[in-house]
């Protein structure tokens, strides 16, 4: 019996060692050290009428809320490698530094860094001078002022790339699931005609969060032209970038293989000195042909009442 016990113990120890050693010998998981947009792969499917087929589940609303690395890219800071970064808008070189600690940042350190990183890009809408201070104050007081707080819709262009696009010959359908937590937003959907519709005169429209949108194709690019907004949204989660009810947004969607590139140009002569174009964002098609959008959590704002500082990212 003792030998059996020893053998059993030895076998057990060996098994334990194997289970311990084997993972240690496995290659460490590959970590991305850049935030470069995903590169396209595969071919671009086309519909019967010859246009690129944008149908599918994309990593939309989104795409601007999914983590600091992506948020930095959306705001124009491209980290190309551990030793190279640049500002997409200005072309300026941004100095990189190796991390000098492996200690995880605590929440406060992480949030403060995120706030700085997301605001460091050069691509900013140019408001008329009388609004400069207002924009600064809205951003500084975003915990109180951000119009999407308390579960209001993000609107356009803040919605970015929709999470789902359904394409028919005469219309496209965009779905933007809601979000929970501090960035709580309401689910949005847009049904956009492609049949040559003309815009309703702006004076005949009651402003809405997503406005009145009409689409058309310019080559392989879907162009969505929207106006008729209310003034209750911002251009982005950061910045305090408000707009008037006269805002006019032109979005461009271009599919290349399994990627979808989106930009939006905002015109609002009431408050902007010149049109402003977002930094291009790139989403990847969900490779699962059976992918669906899960139901969004009910939007219930529970964080704002607990915020005691002006910090926010």
């Amino acid at each position: 019996m003792p030998s059996l016990i020893r053998r059993a113990l030895a076998a057990g120890i060996a098994a334990c060692l194997c289970s311990v050693v084997a993972p240690a010998q496995a290659p460490p998981p590959q970590r991305r050290t850049d935030n470069a947009p995903p590169r396209p792969s595969g071919t671009t499917p086309r519909t019967a009428d010859g246009h690129p087929d944008l149908t599918g589940v994309w990593n939309g609303i989104g795409d601007n809320l999914n983590g600091v690395p992506n948020q930095m890219a959306n705001n124009g800071i491209s980290v190309d490698s551990p030793t190279s970064a640049h500002d997409i808008f200005s072309g300026a070189k941004i100095t990189t530094f190796p991390r000098n600690t492996n200690r995880p940042l605590n929440n406060e350190e992480d949030e403060r860094a995120a706030a700085l990183l997301r605001r460091s890009g050069a691509n900013r809408p140019i408001y008329k001078p009388e609004y400069w201070q207002m924009v600064r104050q809205l951003d500084a007081n975003a915990n109180d002022e951000d119009p999407t707080n308390n579960c209001m819709p993000a609107g356009i262009p803040r919605g970015g790339i929709p999470s789902y696009i359904g394409q028919e010959p005469n219309h496209v359908m965009f779905i933007y699931p809601g979000q929970g937590g501090l960035i709580a937003t309401q689910t949005m959907y847009r049904m956009i005609p492609l049949d040559g519709h003309k815009h309703t005169p702006l004076t005949d429209l009651d402003g809405t969060y997503t406005g009145e949108s009409i689409g058309h194709w310019e080559g392989d690019t879907l162009v969505v032209d929207s106006w008729g907004f209310n003034s209750s949204t911002w251009f982005d989660q950061i910045g305090g970038y408000f707009h008037s009810e006269d805002m006019h947004v032109i979005e461009r969607f271009h599919r290349d293989g399994n990627t979808l590139t989106w930009t939006a140009t905002v015109e609002d002569p009431q408050v902007l000195l010149e049109p402003w174009t977002t930094t291009p964002r790139v989403a990847v098609l969900n490779a699962n042909p059976n992918a669906t959008l899960p139901e969004s959590d009910p939007c219930s704002e529970r964080d704002l009442g607990h915020i005691v500082t002006k910090e926010h990212h």
Partner: protein, 300 residues
């Protein structure tokens, strides 16, 4: 440009009181001998010193919130800032109480200094190679709203102030690459490097304290208006929104050996606030830029 004009502008940017005596004493003392660093690796030493200076200011940051499997390096997060200060400016050697509101950016380089002295409000702005005065905030951008007056000859003087702030010193020293020399003087670390672009010919000497904060910046040039001395002290996070970016609360500045300002910072917003410097069309017409005002990047 004339010294008086640049002095007038410099008066619109910085510092006050207790440091005046010390600054004067330092001005009278003989220059400290600069001893080249004797460490084994100049490149490694320089990188370590610059990293230390950047870390002291809180310039190097990263965040993994929602990053999943992405692990980015630290990057220089300093772009835009705004600080408000009160203090003394000197006109013809005479101190005058003044209030300041300074907006600045490094990408693209720009600075706007609003000053109120003796009830007079001035706004002096520079973006890269363009310099102008604004009769009101953003003058000249909207027809009928204020006048933007070109100040072509003030561009170097104004943009120099951006690059002699602590953040500008670190950025420019990194950009100068191998031309940045690390040495010691009186036990303190000293960085010496040339500026480039339109500020070519200007040499910067920056002194660091034991905590790697930049405490003194001198610039030398053939143009007396570009010979400046700045002192920075009382570093802390002075923002209403905490960022962990450290900024000086006390700034003293001299030009051509004469005191021009001495200010105490009230707030310093380092959270990359909304600060923009669109160039009015008449300013663009008045002066075609000779080149980028940012120091050229080398070896970084």
């Amino acid at each position: 440009m004339s010294v008086s004009r640049s002095t007038t502008f410099l008066c619109c940017a910085m510092a006050i009181a207790g440091f005046a005596t010390r600054a004067a004493a330092q001005a009278k003392s003989a220059p400290s001998p600069v001893v080249p660093s004797t460490t084994a690796s100049g490149t490694a030493d320089r990188a370590k010193i610059l990293r230390g200076a950047a870390d002291a200011l809180g310039m190097v940051r990263w965040s993994d919130i929602g990053g999943g499997n992405t692990r980015l390096p630290g990057i220089d997060v300093i772009n835009t800032m705004e600080f408000k200060a009160t203090g003394t400016s000197y006109t013809a050697g005479q101190p005058v109480p003044a209030e300041y509101d300074v907006e600045l950016a490094y990408n693209p380089p720009g600075m706007r200094v609003q000053t109120v002295r003796s009830g007079a409000h001035t706004i002096q702005t520079v973006r890269e190679d363009y310099a102008w005065d604004e009769s009101e905030l953003g003058a000249g951008l909207v027809p009928g709203k204020g006048t933007a007056t070109p100040q072509v000859s003030a561009a170097k003087d104004r943009i120099l102030q951006l690059w002699t702030l602590p953040y500008g010193v670190v950025k420019a020293a990194i950009a100068a690459g191998d031309k940045t020399i690390v040495s010691t003087a009186d036990g303190a670390t000293v960085l010496t490097f040339p500026l480039s672009g339109p500020l070519s010919g200007v040499t910067v000497k920056a002194t660091l304290d034991a905590n790697n904060f930049i405490t003194r910046v001198e610039t030398k040039s053939g143009d007396p208006a570009l010979n400046t001395e700045s002192e920075y002290s009382d570093y802390a996070d002075h923002g209403e929104i905490a960022t962990d970016i450290k900024s000086p609360a006390h700034i003293v500045r001299k030009q051509a050996g004469r005191p021009v300002m001495d200010i105490r910072v009230k707030t310093w917003d380092a959270n990359n606030p909304y600060v923009v410097f669109p160039v009015p069309s008449n300013i663009k017409k008045a002066a075609a830029p000779a080149g980028a005002a940012a120091p050229h990047q080398e070896n970084q």
